[in-house]
Symmetry: C2
Subunit: 210 residues, 2 copies
Amino acid sequence: MARQTRERILDTSLAMFNAAGEPNVTTNHIADELGISPGNLYYHFRNKDDIVEQLFSRYETRIDDALLIPEDRLPNLEDIWLQLHLVFECMWAYRFLYRDLVDILARNRKLKLRFARIMTRASASAAALMRGLVRAGVMRASDSEILAVAENVLLVATFWLSFNAVRGVKTDVETLDLGRGIHQVMVLLAPFLREAEREHLNTLAGAYSA
Amino acid sequence: MARQTRERILDTSLAMFNAAGEPNVTTNHIADELGISPGNLYYHFRNKDDIVEQLFSRYETRIDDALLIPEDRLPNLEDIWLQLHLVFECMWAYRFLYRDLVDILARNRKLKLRFARIMTRASASAAALMRGLVRAGVMRASDSEILAVAENVLLVATFWLSFNAVRGVKTDVETLDLGRGIHQVMVLLAPFLREAEREHLNTLAGAYSA
């Protein structure tokens, strides 16, 4: 029962952070929304930062899973699409984090270190996938090109939601938004692909550019 | 004399915002730093938002200049380097804006509209430069590729400083930092360049990747 309340608090906090932005939601708002007393909430969590950290742990587990790459065979273009879908869906599920990323990390040193670790892993994962594509003959790029592209892949993915926000694009149409983000990442790889794969990609991408 | 005080307030505010982050600096801090009374500061500016808006106007003039492209001849690769240097130097001069971009724009609807206009102009400018390179025979890309690359150019440039911040990279070494940012933008164009220009670019870029 206590465990159930704890999970409900986390679920509700996540929904409220995503809808209104984490800085605009207080623990009182969360208790109100759940119809529990602030005292009950504080029985489960020390403060709002504690809630943010627990949500970050959920996010971390999910993004770590999304970054796994096939180890028993060479990757193909579908692996990249799948990984990007998993990563973007995870980012969307925890979009409050990406919306105020610089701020949240500046306020919490522990999360900053944990996020830096995720970025390092994501960078290694992107580079490993591209090296696999080169070995499979699907992509042609030097190692320094791969490292530079991996850096841009990270940057474009991490700030895709912020970019939409500052351009005045509404970010509540999930599928369209994520599809366009994935497309923008694929654009980074496209020019290094073999002609057939590049054309295949352009066809797939056409669906998002409407 | 009044005009001089006004300019001094703006210069000092900019330096303090850049050093500490705009949300962490109050009008009292600014008056203190200048050795003037808060009353004197309020004679010149209604509130901190007023100061931010005036600094935004300075930034807007400078970035508009940086986005001008040669109209009387086809552009070359040096034009792109020059424009990127001007744009990144302007971003660095007003880095408080880029550090808390999503937040500052969410708080001020007028600035949000003005920033969206700058983004539209920057996107058009990037696309026009690339189309010029295609006409000059230096670049090979379809128009849909150019539009997608222009979008990524904007995203990488706009969030370069934020990206460094969340990766835990110190952002107070101006030249190295801006050079690496410019390099990451050039990486977006590189695969579409003619072989000679691509090699030239890789040589130039080598200086930054240390």
